[in-house]
């Protein structure tokens, strides 16, 4: 009645560093509470399952963007982040180097003009689509906030996606090489290896195979970048 309210004011004051440190401890405690809740709440999970989930949270992931996305609320350690950066550099270097090699090696010398490229329309369309799609997805990752540990999470998911693309491409090349060599062994046993490989380099067979390989590669790229830019928290 004389200007005094019934309730005392309830301000939170940050007096010194100790209160901030205790906030971090509160967050760590929250993680432990999460696990206790995990153990207590669902009666189905056994002890070993809980241990498995703990192990999965701390695992180093290099080729697994889906699990990086699923465990995005877990803080990534600095050493793991360092390995992600190294693998990201290696993948970017190999992707760009490989595209440069394709573009340069496909050039042949024509008497009277000079070096002319042998990339057909389909090759150029697919390569531009993949480049633009990757850049679009990476830009989207860099602009969405998905977790509190954003820089490390973004590095992790970009590294995982690009590493997965490189790994899958190596597997695809190996598979096609094995199929091609088997086919050569069965059909063209009398010819030398280099002339038999030439059949697969240039010709109707090669062009038909290249549609299939480009299609598989585009599906690979789209699936690898599926989790980039997802999971925005407001």
């Amino acid at each position: 009645m004389n200007g005094e309210s019934t309730y005392k004011p309830d301000f939170i004051t940050v007096e010194n560093e100790q209160t901030l440190a205790s906030d971090n401890k509160v967050e760590a405690n929250n993680n432990e509470n999460l696990t206790n809740d995990l153990q207590n709440s669902s009666a189905d999970l056994t002890d070993s399952e809980v241990k498995l989930i703990h192990k999965q949270r701390q695992k180093l992931r290099l080729f697994d963007p889906e699990d990086v996305y699923n465990f995005r609320h877990i803080e990534i350690g600095y050493f793991q982040s360092f390995l992600h950066v190294i693998s990201l550099c290696i993948s970017i270097f190999s992707i760009i180097g490989f595209s440069y090699l394709i573009i340069n090696n496909s050039q042949q010398l024509v008497k009277g003009i000079g070096m002319i490229s042998d990339l057909n329309v389909l090759d150029k369309l697919c390569m531009s689509f993949i480049a633009l799609y990757s850049l679009f997805k990476i830009k989207k990752t860099l602009t969405t906030k998905a977790t509190n540990f954003d820089k490390r999470y973004r590095i992790a998911i970009c590294a995982n996606s690009l590493n997965l693309i490189v790994l899958n491409y190596l597997k695809l090349s190996l598979l096609f090489l094995a199929l091609m060599l088997t086919f050569i062994q069965v059909e063209y046993t009398d010819e030398t290896v280099s002339s038999a490989v030439y059949i697969f380099e240039n010709g109707v067979v090669a062009d038909s195979l290249s549609i299939i390989t480009w299609f598989i590669f585009i599906v690979m790229v789209v699936k690898a970048f599926k989790y980039c830019g997802k999971g925005e928290i407001k």
Binding site: S99, N104, S106, Q108, G112, G114, V121, L135, L142
Partner: protein, 155 residues
């Protein structure tokens, strides 16, 4: 991000860097030489190939006829059509067609030069038949007389 786009752009535009210059007869096709998209300039590339082939025959430089005419056949049998055509392949197709057309125009219905005064004339093939003849030939080098002997019959 901008630098990545710039780098990829730089890699893509390097493709059309030509070190030699066109022969004088073909200088009207300079724009065709610098163009890069087969979708838009297929006809110009074929014309460029024809012009180059005629030039090579006139200068008596050997040209790889088997490879060029294989490309013509491949283009005919291809599933994808223009999607699997590259600039190099279009120019090679033009070279094959240019060679065949040049031999036809130069020798068809022309009298055979011989020591005895028999009047024989050449009859030369054109089109798909000529392409198949050239593809299956196994000559060591292809000069004008060799091509004439392959494609034309004395009648």
């Amino acid at each position: 991000m901008k630098y990545l786009i710039g780098l990829i752009f730089c890699l893509m535009i390097q493709v059309s860097f030509a070190k030699e210059s066109l022969p004088k007869d073909c200088s009207h096709l300079q724009t065709a030489m610098e163009a890069d998209f087969v979708l838009l300039s297929k006809k110009e590339f074929i014309e460029l190939g024809e012009c180059l082939a005629v030039n090579l025959i006139k200068k008596r430089t050997p040209l790889n006829v088997v490879e060029s005419c294989n490309e013509v056949d491949e283009d005919r049998r291809n599933l994808l059509g223009i999607f699997s055509l590259s600039k190099l392949e279009a120019i090679l197709i033009g070279q094959c067609m240019g060679t065949i057309n040049y031999i036809y125009e130069h020798y068809d219905n022309e009298p055979v030069l011989s020591y005895n005064y028999q009047t024989k004339i050449y009859q030369c093939t054109k089109g798909v038949q000529a392409v198949d003849i050239l593809r299956q030939s196994r000559a060591k080098s292809y000069s004008r007389t060799v091509l004439r002997d392959l494609l034309c019959r004395e009648r």
